[in-house]
């Protein structure tokens, strides 16, 4: 990893910051999309389905 990224002694702080960002925004996206998919499935199961 040192070839492409040379962060020296700050590497741990930097990777934790980017890792937390990826985890939080990735998790938020995942849960947002999952809630959407579930709502769509429930709406489809009921009469009328999605608003057109």
């Amino acid at each position: 990893m040192d070839g492409l990224f040379s962060f020296g002694s700050y590497a741990t702080y930097i990777w934790f910051a980017y890792g937390a960002t990826a985890l939080a925004l990735g998790g938020l996206t995942f849960f947002t999309l999952r809630a959407y998919a579930r709502a769509k499935a429930r709406a489809r199961a009921l009469e009328g389905g999605e608003p057109s």
């Binding site: 930097i14 959407y36 709406a43 009328g48």
Partner: protein, 250 residues
């Protein structure tokens, strides 16, 4: 603006926008991350730790921008009973809370090597922590009150009262002595940050903004569907009740 109060119209428009907004978010994040981690130089004082700025500063901007959007939507919902505005305010809260948590966490990771401490109870850090609690309180109110209309009203009032915290956060570095540095981008006399750092930072800021837009549209569509599902269930329950009453009466 009030044309969008119609959920059907919002549904059609947001459906057409979604692929574009998601595409733009992914491209901007890709370009921004490359520039932040590989394409930008180290700072002459902070060394490579300056790279934390590219995720910390946009998260802080979004923490405040989301709150401002939530308060503005709450105001419109409160005053004009604008259904979509209430939906937008509610959908913004978890996104804003996530950005605020990230601002605090990445700030702590930047503070340790630069200031020698993870946390100080100074004006900037404390006011952002208060912002985080305001988001939690707002979401808690929505969850605690069953009646949607009452929940929307109570949450909107909290959002508007809490908006007083926004100028406090922004100017905390000017009004009080703090470890946190002053503004170097959003200044009346223009940014003082070198373009080598400024441009990747602005790309990341734009990427976060567009990602907020993408998540907001999805969360709003989810909320609209859930409202319809609840209304449908109520209608069914009411008609069943009526059916039973009619049978009993006969």
């Amino acid at each position: 603006m009030f044309g969008f109060a119609n959920p059907q119209r919002f549904w059609r428009l947001s459906g057409a926008l979604l692929p574009w907004v998601w595409g733009a978010a992914i491209i901007l994040l890709g370009v921004g991350l490359y520039w932040a981690l590989i394409g930008s130089p180290d700072d002459y004082q902070q060394g490579s730790s300056v790279r934390i700025m590219y995720v910390h500063v946009p998260a802080s901007w979004m923490a405040m921008a989301c709150y401002a959007a939530m308060a503005a939507a709450s105001f419109v919902g409160l005053v004009w009973r604008h259904v979509i505005a209430d939906v937008a305010a509610k959908a913004t809260a978890p996104i804003g809370a996530t950005f605020t948590a990230l601002a605090l966490f990445t700030g702590s990771l930047w503070g340790k090597p630069m200031w020698g401490t993870w946390w100080v109870w100074d004006a900037r850090l404390t006011s952002v922590l208060v912002l985080f609690f305001l988001y939690l309180g707002y979401m808690g109110l929505w969850a605690a009150i069953e009646d949607r209309v009452k929940a929307a009203r109570a949450a909107a009032i909290l959002a508007l009262v809490g908006a007083v915290n926004l100028p406090i956060i922004k100017f905390s570095v000017d009004w009080w002595n703090t470890l946190h540095q002053g503004s170097s981008v959003m200044r009346a006399d223009g940014p003082t940050l070198d373009p080598a750092f400024l441009y990747p930072l602005l790309i990341m800021g734009l990427a976060y903004t567009v990602l907020y837009g993408a998540l907001l549209l999805i969360a709003m569509r989810t909320e609209i569907l859930n409202k319809r599902i609840t209304a449908d269930q109520r209608r069914r329950a009411a008609s069943e009740q009526l059916h039973v009453q009619t049978r009993e009466g006969a």
